[in-house]
């Protein structure tokens, strides 16, 4: 875990150097386009997290093993953190380029709705005490939420077909920088995930201990 964090830190320093000093300014956006190198990988990480949460939820319903539930809960929370980073950086970027904090752009709005769904997921988890019941109910919510993501995306795209910069025609060294910056973010997400899963494990242990205490 320490090694992962160290690699992530080194890569981030290297990427900051490339971003700030090697890559040239964008024609219309000047310096601010560099926000993208965090904004975009943040979104990828968040959606990857939500996707894995859906897989883990299905696995929980099939196998009834609480470890899958712990994984789903942990990775959803990590996804929400990266989703929040994506939303905030997107807003700051929108303020520079479009002049407004929130332009109801397709991807950003989809992320917001998704973020709210998964925040509801975590709130539901807090509201249920009994572990297996909590696992079952939240697994169902996670599956519903992920099934909704593509529908939300298309509905909002039809509602406002507008401005988000097309991702396809970036120069190759920018793509390179994007992916290079995704690696440390993924590593960090992995570290967060491991810490969270360990906490979930302690939580299960605590539940066992509480039962023993009550049994006396």
């Amino acid at each position: 875990m320490l090694a992962m964090t160290a690699i992530a830190a080194l890569l981030l320093v290297r990427n900051l150097y490339v971003m700030l000093l090697v890559l040239p300014d964008e024609k219309h956006q000047n310096a601010a386009y560099r926000i993208m190198f965090f904004h975009v990988p943040d979104a990828w990480t968040a959606f990857l997290c939500f996707f894995l949460a859906m897989i883990a939820s299905v696995l929980y319903l099939v196998k009834n093993d609480l470890r899958y539930d712990g994984f789903a809960a942990s990775i959803t929370e990590v996804g929400l953190v990266f989703g929040a980073a994506n939303l905030v950086t997107g807003m700051i970027w929108g303020r520079v380029i479009w002049g407004v904090w929130w332009a109801w752009d397709v991807r950003l709005t989809t992320m917001l709705v998704g973020w709210l769904m998964y925040a509801g997921y975590l709130m539901l988890r807090r509201a249920i005490e009994e572990p297996t019941e909590r696992a079952k109910m939240s697994a169902v919510v996670s599956i519903f939420a992920f099934a909704d993501v593509p529908i939300i995306f298309f509905s909002i795209r039809w509602w406002r077909n507008q401005q988000h910069p097309p991702p396809a025609d970036l120069p190759p060294d920018w793509w390179m920088a994007l992916f290079m910056n995704w690696i440390p973010l993924l590593l960090l997400a992995g570290v967060f995930l491991m810490i969270r899963m360990e906490q979930e494990r302690i939580e299960r242990q605590l539940n066992g201990l509480r039962r023993t205490v009550h049994a006396f």
Binding site: L61, V113, L116, M117, G120, M123, L124, A127, I128, E133, K136, M137, A139, V140, V141, I143, F144, A145, A147, D148, I151, I152, F154, S155, I156, W158, W159
Partner: protein, 235 residues
């Protein structure tokens, strides 16, 4: 081969209809949820007219959003009651233990909720027309189709989450928190369809993709709910 399958689906439908008629009968006896929901919807319709100038032409353009917000709020009241009603006297345990599948129970409850919600909507529409001076009946049947499809989406998701949150202390709070974000595409499509229909545009051209989206939303979530409801109900 086909005959037992047909018989199976017939009995599935009959079981659902039994549950639906049971729910409707017990609701009509007290009219608790129905009265509260209609009254609530009317209050919101009234409050909205303070938010903007209710006679302007532009208000007709946002009529779709206005109506569907009213329906979504009023719907939450009905959906909250749907499973919570069965908590007293352990009726829910009896229903789950009954020799019908969870899917049939769910479908029955959803059909009853659909009927109740459509009743509320039919009570709201004329009041909306009067308050906001909108001749909303020009495209009556297409509008009814959109109402039915949008309301089915709302009921199928709402009934599912009503079953899911029935044992929670914060039930009344959790249900809208979970249902509204998931409803975003369905509500968006319904809003986009309703406003032009209220203004008298025919259901064609630009509106067809939205209709398709609404139908897709309904089909996907009906299938998902029918598959997963068993895990939610059996505790």
């Amino acid at each position: 081969m086909a005959v037992p399958a047909l018989r199976g689906s017939m009995s599935f439908l009959r079981q659902s209809l039994t549950i639906a008629s049971k729910d409707l009968r017990s609701e009509l006896r007290t009219k608790e949820a129905l009265n509260a929901s209609v009254a609530f919807a009317l209050v919101i319709l009234l409050l909205f007219s303070f938010a903007f100038e209710p006679t302007e032409v532009e208000t007709r353009q946002i009529s779709g959003g206005l109506l569907w917000l009213v329906f979504a709020f009023a719907g939450a009241l009905i959906l909250n009651r749907s499973f919570a009603r069965e908590l007293s006297n352990d009726c829910l345990d009896a229903l789950v233990a009954a020799p019908i599948s969870g899917a049939a129970l769910f479908l029955g409850k959803a059909l009853a909720n659909l009927a109740l919600l459509v009743t509320v909507e039919l009570a709201c529409l004329p009041v909306f027309g009067i308050f906001y001076n909108v001749p909303w009946t020009q495209q009556f049947w297409p509008l009814m189709l959109v109402m039915l499809l949008g309301t089915w989406g709302l009921t199928v998701v709402g009934t599912m989450f009503s079953a899911l949150t029935v044992n929670l202390r914060l039930r009344e709070l959790m249900l809208p928190m979970l249902v509204y974000p998931i409803m975003v595409p369905g509500l968006l499509a319904a809003v986009q369809l309703t406003a032009p229909l209220v203004m008298g545009q025919p259901l064609a051209g630009d509106l067809i993709p939205w209709l398709r989206l609404l139908i897709a939303f309904d089909v996907i979530f009906t299938a998902l709910a029918l598959t997963l409801v068993e895990t939610v109900l059996v505790r």
